[in-house]
């Protein structure tokens, strides 16, 4: 196993006891735990460098600005964007997707236009497009998925010349399905459409290279990749930035303000009105540096090992129904499942008594669950600090659940 004692020690919360048992944290698709490096980066920032960024002349402001802008470069390199200003700091994936809905969809779309998204999208990659369509009169078309959650854009029949925007998750938060973004991107651009990718479940687990993917927008959250909550990124391809309106208006984003008119600063300032989340950006950069040290390829390899192990165990159990891709290689480290005649909430409650944290519910994908024909699923999701021992404790907890509930 790749997970060393040291890796586990890097995450202070893992030494916590839950109901008298060792914490087995398997809810990483919801949020990950934070390594000491991230906690210390935030603390050091506040203890040593706190000041408002940009346009401050004094030492602290210069330091804080430097740290904030260095964080941007760290994020740029992490997803291999071409320019630092292509990284816009937001509150998270939801905020990033609303950003695109507001500054692109609602501004540019017209009645004859079409927005495409898939059936398995998280509500945050679905509701903003519904609202944008309502406001502009644009149409929504849904991309069907196959049994494993894959979208085949070539099967889509609609008035192709009118497709203006395609929204798709890089990896599903339920199935884990890793879409072929390159192919979808090519398909979108051949039709003159832009592609926005919800990368919340991809960036923390697999190598993401926005240049190679060829997408126009790429959204992700800090807290799902070992960073703090309340910070996220929207990658906007440089070529598009000029034509986009600002997301919010106020301080920090202007060039010149009169009483009746104002002009905007250049990107990224243009897109980051108000005092930014400096601690968040610094914490997220620390998370990137931790992931770089571990190696994102190693994170992936590690999660695949755990996936294989749990999949094999689940396959032996006729009562367990697993959703999504059959091959582990097609999914990120997340498995949604159900146990016959046990409601996922009850399963999660019993597991909690054993210190095991899993998620149960519709995971903000009500349309997908409707398609599956179940109101809810149980979901286990991994990160670098999980072990086979964690899975054994999970399986034992599931046995207990059957004893209690059946």
């Amino acid at each position: 196993m790749l997970t060393s004692e040291q890796t586990i020690k890097d995450f202070p919360i893992l030494s916590r006891k839950i109901n008298g048992k060792r914490l087995v944290y398997l809810d990483n698709a919801a949020t990950t735990q934070k390594p000491t490096r991230v906690l210390e980066a935030i603390e050091t920032y506040y203890r040593q460098h706190n000041a408002n960024v940009h346009r401050g002349i004094h030492t602290l402001s210069e330091e804080a600005t430097k740290m904030y802008e260095e964080a941007r470069v760290t994020l740029q390199k992490f997803i291999n964007a071409r320019h630092p200003e292509e990284i816009i700091f937001t509150r998270g994936t939801t905020d990033s997707l609303n950003f695109v809905a507001r500054t692109y969809a609602e501004e540019k779309l017209k009645i004859a236009d079409t927005i495409l998204f898939s059936e398995l999208e998280h509500h945050s990659n679905l509701v903003p497009w519904q609202i944008a369509a309502k406001k502009t009169g644009a149409k929504i078309e849904v991309l069907k998925i196959d049994n494993e959650g894959f979208v085949d854009v070539s099967l889509k029949e609609c008035k192709e010349q009118n497709i203006k925007l395609i929204a798709i998750s890089h990896a599903s938060n339920v199935f884990g399905t890793i879409q072929n973004i390159k192919e979808i991107s090519k398909w979108a651009h051949e039709r003159g459409a832009l592609l926005v990718v919800d990368g919340a479940q991809a960036v923390p687990h697999i190598k993401v290279d926005v240049q190679s993917l060829g997408c126009d927008f790429y959204a992700f959250s800090g807290h799902k990749m070992l960073g703090p909550m309340g910070i996220g990124v929207l990658y906007i391809k440089k070529e598009l930035q000029e034509s986009l309106a600002p997301y919010q208006y106020g301080g920090g984003m202007i060039r010149e303000v009169g009483l009746e008119t104002a002009t905007w600063d250049l990107s990224p300032s243009k897109f980051e009105a108000g005092t930014p989340n400096v601690e968040g950006a610094i914490g997220l950069a620390a998370a990137c540096s931790y992931l770089n040290q571990q190696g994102i390829e190693n994170v992936r390899k590690h999660e695949l090992e755990l996936l294989e192990y749990l999949s094999e165990e689940f396959a032996k159990d006729k009562e367990v129904i697993v959703y999504g891709p059959k091959e582990s290689g097609k999914r990120t480290g997340v498995i949604a499942f159900n146990v016959s005649n046990i409601h996922p909430h009850d399963l999660a409650s019993v597991l909690d008594t054993e210190g095991v944290a899993i998620r149960s519910g519709h995971h903000c994908t009500m349309p997908l669950h409707k398609k599956l024909g179940v109101p809810a699923t149980a979901r286990v999701s991994f990160h670098i600090y999980n072990t086979k021992d964690d899975i054994d404790i999970l399986l034992k907890g599931m046995e207990k659940a059957r004893k209690v509930l059946l």
Binding site: N19, H343, P344, H345, D346, S349, V350, D352, T353, S360, G361, H362, M366, H369, P375, A376, K400, V404, L405
Partner: protein, 135 residues
């Protein structure tokens, strides 16, 4: 907490819910969902002379939501509407488990909320004599 959360009385109600099914002779029905998990409950009632003569329900839900509905509906069946209205959510929760977590409280009160809504609807329709509503 499982030992208390899934104690025998509750599990008995979950495995064999009381008043399960649909009423053919009914004064009204209501469906309620828990948006957190998509759990659903459908409740039918028969009201005669300000008394809840009969009640039944069907549901897709977890053990807590089904057992709580079963226990609560058993308790209110045959009672005067006036008395049912005075029942507090807290009393039901205390009976299920006083230490329920926030998310599980939503499960435990699914049936309670459904019946409360149905009672308001029935009340809004007016008294039986005026509207000729009650069977």
């Amino acid at each position: 907490m499982t030992d208390t959360l899934y104690r025998e009385e509750l599990m008995e109600h979950y495995k064999h819910p009381q008043n399960w099914g649909r009423l053919t002779n009914k004064s009204g029905s209501v469906s309620e969902v828990n948006p957190l998990c998509g759990d659903e409950i459908t409740v039918d009632v028969l009201v005669e002379e300000d008394v809840l003569k009969d009640i039944s329900f069907t549901a897709h839900g977890c053990a807590i939501s089904i057992a709580s509905a079963s226990i609560f509906f058993d308790k209110v069946k045959g009672k005067k509407l006036e008395d049912i209205k005075s029942l507090q959510k807290k009393d039901l929760l205390d009976q299920i488990n006083p230490n329920l977590t926030l998310s599980r409280i939503k499960c435990a009160t699914l049936g309670f909320n459904a019946l409360s809504r149905l009672m308001l609807e029935i009340e809004a329709r007016g008294t039986p004599k005026e509207k000729g509503f009650y069977v």
